[in-house]
């Protein structure tokens, strides 16, 4: 038994993060677990962070690194928006993230997914993994939980989904990853961004579908014991 839990281990968001485009915008999704070694430091974290009114970023890896990178980019984008006189584009936000990630690659340990909507390109998703590579994709997954989702998305992803289909896909995927990845857990948060604006949704763990070998949650054993015994069969 680990009596000397390393409570000074860096806060890391094991994480599952997802970004998906649909016809009209993007859906971003994430779990909510932040761990310090084996201890869950925060079971209801917000990993989808706002950069501007129309661009959000999903954070994974080191909590500190990802918070700082997104704080800097939010600051730069704020100034950029004032100078430009109109909302910043998703591409600019993603490239600012890339610059910080690439130029500090030796010190940072964070993988990010930038997603948003602008009037020029519509909904766009950009993945920026460790090292600072920038890749624009119709959908992307990240974080430790994403390992369990490559096969799922290869099969389940379709071009031209509706907003609801895309969100259901994201919720299902994060939920599946939570089921298998110890570093992911808690609630599923989604953020939908399109021309009309931004919608944040919240799916608590007990409202998610049950997967293999999972049982319906009960209040107490006592409720099960006191349940009426089944009727005898009539042969």
């Amino acid at each position: 038994m680990d009596l000397n839990m390393n409570v000074n281990a860096p806060h890391s968001m094991g994480t599952t993060i997802i970004g998906v485009t649909y016809n009209g915008g993007v859906v971003l999704g994430a779990d909510s677990r932040t761990s310090t070694g084996m201890y869950v430091a925060n079971r209801a974290s917000e990993k989808i962070t706002q950069l501007t009114d129309n661009v959000y970023v999903c954070r994974s890896g080191s909590a500190a690194d990802s918070q700082l990178v997104s704080d800097y980019v939010r600051y730069f984008l704020h100034q950029h928006t004032i100078q430009l006189g109109q909302p910043a584009t998703v591409k600019v936000a993603a490239n600012l993230i890339r610059l910080l990630s690439y130029n500090n690659k030796n010190m940072l340990q964070t993988g990010l997914i930038v997603g948003g909507w602008d009037k020029y390109e519509g909904g766009k998703i950009y993945g920026i993994p460790l090292g600072g590579t920038l890749v624009e994709q119709p959908f992307t997954i990240g974080g430790s939980g994403s390992s369990y989702l490559y096969g799922f998305f290869d099969q389940a992803w379709k071009e031209g989904m509706t907003k609801d289909e895309a969100e259901q896909l994201v919720v299902k995927a994060v939920s599946l990853a939570i089921a298998r990845d110890g570093a992911s857990g808690g609630v599923v948060r989604t953020v939908i961004i399109n021309s009309e604006g931004v919608t944040r949704n919240f799916y608590p763990g007990d409202k998610l579908q049950l997967w293999h070998d999972e049982l319906e949650p009960q209040n107490s054993l006592l409720d099960i014991l006191n349940a009426p015994s089944p009727e005898p069969m009539n042969i």
Binding site: K105, N106, T133
Partner: protein, 245 residues
Amino acid sequence: MNFMASKQPENSLLGPEADSQRTLYPYVTGTSVVALKYKDGILMAADMGGSYGSTLRYKSVERMKPIGKHSLLGASGEISDFQEILHYLDELILYDNMWDDGNSLGPKEVHNYLTRVMYNRRNKFNPLWNSLVLGGVKNGQKYLGTVSMIGVNFEDNHVATGFGNHLARPILRQEWHENLSFEDGVRLLEKCMRVLLYRDRSAINKLQIAKITEEGMTISQPYSLKTYWEFSAFANPAQGAVGSW
């Protein structure tokens, strides 16, 4: 090789490494690039994979890009460093255009520039983790060169990076000849790419072939190669010796 080795969380022990910029290992990598000179110019092939350690993570990465009017750059290795090199070259070409003197940088000049960049970074122990292939045609002269992350550079009639060095170059040494037609050149490259697909774990079956001639450059649409599995020995390899492979 474990590319995903975690960075030491004990930042206090990082010491000088935390301040100095030195690339220690690549994260998202591209595999082989193969290229050859043919009758009208240069043909180059590369698959569209971006591997993340042993995971074939990205499957639509363009690893060949046009540079200016006369050159074509293909890269293997760390994709973020390749993206940075493209930024440097954008600036180089921009300044070249700003002279507005009718002259433009040819493949030989671009190759020389890249060689200097790569070698200087290597001397500072902070390499751009790439192997580059630079091909082009200017004033009728065909040029094909390569530079590695440690600055080794040379030009030849056919070049390859990564696994391509071991698997493609022997094929090219046997079958390449002066004045290949476009069709023969493509078929020869495809032969090399097929072998790489069979034998390189980080290869994916989605590739592009780029062509550059005096007239200009084109990059083909992504496509996949057919593979052959019908050897009778493949169906039942352990027939003569149960338990063997």
